[in-house]
């Protein structure tokens, strides 16, 4: 017998998770549709008023341009919530114990969840970008900027997905796993995602300036509008790498600690 097969085992687990997403459309359609609903809500209900606050008589079209980068981070956060639920569902099943008694690359179970969720996030992002373009979003980004946007969104998705995997492992039940990552939905609102930070009261403004979603959103916004990315770019990447490293170690620790058998 040869040693471990990290790529092959992870690919097997990814196929398993993709089948799960197909068989459980409630789980896979939610993160695709919910950001679109929010996009339409914000553009058509709040957008007219909020856009006038951004620039004189900016209206709805000004707000679409401001909102879309924030919606992208929100979309990644919504998709990440799903992985916490599916990891927690897995951990209540005896099959995880079976995997642990087999000679397979141990992190492949988690890797399968992460890869599956990245694909889900990719689909959700494509749908929300298409919806934004349909409601009048006109980004000024060239091919290089789009590539940078894709790269940063991938980093964000990897970070939030590992964090959600850890939260899913931490949860004692599937119900609490669906609630634990809820704060990820809120963070884009408490940053520069939906309104400019300088419109907030002082305390909130301090929080918004110092939380990861603000530099991430600012970087995406600069890239998409064809402006120069300032120091927020470095901050955004640093946040993503730090969250990924911490969440990865935490998740692996939790996975190995769990007896792997609910009995």
């Amino acid at each position: 017998m040869t040693g471990a097969y990290p790529v092959r085992d992870s690919a097997t687990m990814l196929r398993r998770n993709l089948l799960h997403l197909r068989r459980y459309p409630g789980l896979s359609l939610f993160p695709i549709l919910m950001p679109v609903v929010f996009l339409l809500l914000f553009v058509y209900v709040f957008g007219g008023t909020l856009g006038d606050g951004l620039e004189v008589s900016g209206g709805r079209s000004a707000y679409v341009d401001f909102l879309t980068p924030g919606m992208l981070t929100f979309t990644v956060a919504v998709a990440a919530n799903i992985v916490a639920i599916s990891v927690a569902m897995d951990m209540t099943e005896g099959i995880i114990a079976r995997f642990k008694t087999m000679r397979i690359w141990r992190p492949s179970v988690l890797a399968g969840h992460v890869l599956g969720n990245l694909l889900l996030a990719g689909v959700s992002l494509a749908v929300v970008i298409a919806a934004a373009l349909l409601v009048g979003y006109r980004p000024a980004a060239g091919p290089l900027e789009w590539l940078a946007v894709a790269g940063l969104l991938l980093l964000v998705a990897v970070a939030l997905t590992w964090l959600s995997v850890a939260l899913g492992l931490l949860a004692k039940s599937v119900e609490s796993a669906s609630n634990l990552p809820m704060f990820l939905f809120l963070l884009p609102f408490l940053g520069s995602g939906f309104v400019p930070v300088d419109s907030m009261p002082a305390g909130l403004q301090w929080f918004a300036d110092n939380q990861p979603f603000t530099p991430i959103t600012d970087t995406l916004r600069s890239l998409l509008s064809g402006e120069r990315v300032g120091s927020s770019g470095t901050m955004a990447v640093a946040w993503c790498l730090a969250i990924t490293a911490g969440a990865f170690l935490w998740a692996v620790h939790l996975y190995n600690r769990r007896p792997g058998n609910r009995a």
């Binding site: 092959r8 099943e93 642990k100 008694t101 058998n261």
Partner: protein, 320 residues
């Protein structure tokens, strides 16, 4: 098979505690290759913990635990190559079909695709799952799930199979089907390590039985050896009227009396000579016997004698 091969399982001085609670407190046993070993005990006696340690899911605190000659803690992957585990809760993926569950195992075992397809069909057929092969496991009955679970375990051709309470929660027909499966495995040369709360199951299947109670083995041996160790065998007699009862009670050696129901019990090891002797004595005294029954001790008697409790105790949390 050469006699020089190590036993399938060798456990010496096994200890495991959760916090201050000793779940296994010095357990020793050996399982010979190609045999069925049943670990018997009430809920909470440490059966599942033992299986989890043997199956490399849990590390022992102390003791030497070797499976197929390999140390479960230091050579876990070598142990994983030769074992198959079917836990108390069916380890199948509910959202996958029966066939997809088996294909998942084949991929994780790194079996060649073409080969795997044939083996999967053969297993589905053998476990009577062909018709349900393309339905998700969530739609299966308890017995079907357990059969799929075993089929998944067998796909890797394990030398040693752990079955943790394989018939808990199954209806009598599915239980008998499971017994046939276990017998079939042993005929193929597989070693089976089985835990159960059902004494009848151990009696039916096992070559060797060990009784676990409060983290210690209180007895082990063949079912026959264990039954021979305890009293409990008797001939039960009932009589048509009080006078016959009184005469019989005077003739027989030290019977246990129950005058109200006109019944006597004579202790016996169950052999024919004793029965014949009792009947001759009664014949000679001209006593009419209404009914006669022979009770041989079963593992329930053994369990009661050894632990002071009936085997089917009320269920606690089955976790340890």
């Amino acid at each position: 098979m050469s006699g020089a091969r190590p036993p399938a399982i060798a456990v010496a001085g096994l200890r495991k505690s959760y916090g201050a609670t000793a779940v296994l407190d010095g357990v020793d046993f050996t399982v010979a290759r190609g045999t069925v070993f049943a670990l018997l005990g009430p809920n909470g006696s440490g059966k599942t913990t033992t299986v989890n340690i043997l199956a490399t899911l849990l590390a022992p605190d102390d003791g030497a635990v070797r499976v197929a000659g390999r140390d479960v803690a230091r050579e876990a992957d070598a142990v994983r190559d030769v074992i198959g585990v079917t836990g108390q809760f069916a380890a199948v993926d509910d959202l996958l079909t029966g066939r997809e569950n088996l294909a998942l195992m084949a991929d994780l075992l790194h079996l060649p695709r073409a080969d795997a397809g044939l083996r999967i069909d053969a297993l589905l057929d053998r476990f009577d799952l062909l018709d349900a092969a393309d339905r998700t496991a969530a739609t299966y009955s308890g017995g079907m799930r357990r059969r799929l679970d075993i089929a998944m375990t067998l796909l890797g051709d394990p030398e040693i199979i752990f079955l943790d309470e394989p018939t808990t929660g199954l209806d009598p027909r599915s239980r008998r089907a499971m017994w046939e499966i276990v017998r079939g495995l042993v005929n193929d040369g597989t070693t089976v390590f089985l835990t159960t709360q059902y004494l009848e199951e151990a009696d039916q299947l096992a070559d060797h039985v060990a009784i676990l109670d409060g983290g210690r083995l209180v007895a082990q041996g063949t079912p026959a050896e264990l039954k021979a160790r305890i009293p409990g065998g008797h001939i039960g007699l009932t009589f048509p009227d009080r006078s016959a009862y009184r005469v019989a009670a005077g003739v027989l050696e030290a019977p246990a009396r129950d005058e109200d129901s006109l019944a006597l019990q004579v202790a016996t090891n169950g052999n024919v000579a004793t029965v014949r002797h009792v009947l001759r004595e009664l014949d000679e005294a001209g006593v009419e016997v209404e009914s006669l029954s022979i009770h041989t001790p079963d593992l329930d008697d053994v369990f009661l004698a050894l632990t002071g409790r009936p085997a089917t105790s009320e269920s606690e949390d089955g976790s340890r």
